[in-house]
């Protein structure tokens, strides 16, 4: 039986009773050491290791559910110690092995489906508030990690405050880029026609929009994002506004002449292909 494996002599059979796939060799050895030295304390530590992975794995294997739910249920350290003491026959042999196995497996069904159980780690506060608090903190740190990957140049930052500043700067710079680009597009646009249908149905070839004289304008320093530098957007914006408005006037003159030369512009396939957009990185980022 599973419970008997916890006997002092059955230290080698611990691996069979518990979910074998989850516990590594080190943990097993640690558990063997447990029953020789300090049994209860380090066992709870080992149980805390592969906590949530065991939920998924042990949920399938019905035979192994007898013992592993102990490590899955949300409980405090004191409760675990009490349960362990019940299991360890040398300490408390009041309950029979089958009874313990039954009451273990009964509790197993609902909790594993309802929500993720959090196990109070050793040496930390164990009331429900701090457990929830810890879950929340872990969620936040997980999201910060995702953001760290998103924001360029933030792989080395360790610290929420600095990371937040970086994120804020990045979002601001992106928003400024949108404004800047929308101005550019407004200047460019009267001659552009997009054929949306063909755009999305087949590989498109590039037409020839007749826009002239715009290339010198767009050599203005593009707002990119190097590290934590704030972009002096007002200067750039003011400069381009004056330039673009003059260009727009020139465009109006060209309009009548270029009307006949305007063709349908199809967006090049690199905009809508699978691998994302082809970006000239020094400019944008």
């Amino acid at each position: 039986m599973m419970v008997s494996a916890f006997g002092l002599s059955g230290g080698s059979r611990i691996s069979e009773s518990l979910c074998p796939a989850d516990f590594s060799m080190e943990e097993e050895k640690q558990m063997e050491r447990n029953f020789k030295g300090k049994k209860r304390r380090t066992l709870s530590e080992c149980a805390g290791f592969s906590l949530q992975s065991t939920i998924a794995k042990c949920a399938d294997a019905k035979e192994q559910n007898d013992v592993s739910p102990h490590f899955v249920k949300s409980s405090t350290d004191k409760d675990v110690k009490k349960q362990k003491s019940e299991l360890l026959p040398c300490y408390n042999s009041s309950k029979s092995a089958t009874e313990q196995a039954k009451e273990i497996s009964q509790d197993d069904d609902d909790p594993k489906e309802a929500y993720i159980h959090v196990r109070a780690k050793r040496g930390k506060a164990t009331n429900s508030h701090s457990l929830a608090e810890r879950v929340r903190r872990e969620k936040i740190s997980e999201r910060m990690r995702i953001l760290q990957d998103l924001v360029p140049g933030c792989s080395k930052i360790t610290g929420k405050a600095v990371m937040l500043d970086e994120i804020i700067n990045y979002v601001q710079s992106l928003q400024q880029q949108v404004e800047f680009l929308s101005m550019k597009l407004a200047a460019v646009n009267p001659e552009l026609n997009f054929d949306i249908e063909q755009n999305f149905s087949k590989a498109a070839r590039v037409g020839t929009p007749s826009v002239l004289g715009l290339s010198p304008v767009f050599s203005t320093p593009y707002a990119h994002y190097p590290g934590a530098v704030q972009i002096p957007s007002e200067m750039i914006v003011a400069a381009t506004i004056s330039q673009l408005s003059s260009i727009a006037q020139i465009e109006n003159m060209w309009d009548e002449e270029l009307q006949n030369a305007i063709q349908m512009t199809l967006i090049p396939p690199q905009q809508v292909n699978n691998s994302g957009f082809h970006v000239k990185d020094p400019k944008v980022l």
């Binding site: 992106l174 680009l181 994302g276 970006v279």
Partner: protein, 147 residues
């Protein structure tokens, strides 16, 4: 900004096509209109944010806030009540549309989504500008060779 919802063809990159599609549609419509420059600017900017918000999954709070702002033509929603924490997350809340009344956890989720879409929007607009610029350069060269 009342473009019809249209199902795009199957594409392995699910988010980008819808965003690009909405934006390009609005852009073409803006092109055809004969508004002055600054109005077109603002219209394009609104189209950019609208395309971002429309292609967002519906449980994103920021998309609703953006669309609400654009629809009502209001510059900033003015929520003074829902000031949960007045410390580090403040600036981020102000940046994110609709970020005032959210707890930290959700705020970070929304910024992740927002940043992703902003990035694709910027890339998209940059691509358009680049393609136009390249074509302009080619056009110039061709005309010079002709002359």
């Amino acid at each position: 900004m009342n473009s019809k919802k249209k199902r795009t063809l199957a594409n392995p990159n699910p988010r980008n096509p819808m965003q690009a599609f909405h934006f390009l549609r609005s852009l073409s419509r803006i092109n055809l209109s004969t508004a002055p420059f600054h109005k077109r600017c603002r219209a394009i900017r609104r189209a950019a944010y609208a395309s971002m918000a429309r292609s967002a999954s519906p449980n994103r709070a920021w998309s609703h806030a953006v669309l609400y702002q654009l629809h009502r033509r209001r510059r900033r929603p003015v929520p003074v009540q829902a000031r949960c924490k007045t410390h580090q997350n403040d600036a981020l809340r102000r940046l994110l549309p609709g970020g005032e009344a959210m707890d930290t956890c959700r705020l970070l989720e929304e910024t992740i989504d927002y940043v992703q879409r902003l990035r694709t929007q910027v890339k998209l607009m940059q691509e358009i500008v680049d393609s136009v610029k390249d074509d302009a350069v080619h056009e110039e060269k061709r005309q010079k060779e002709e002359n």
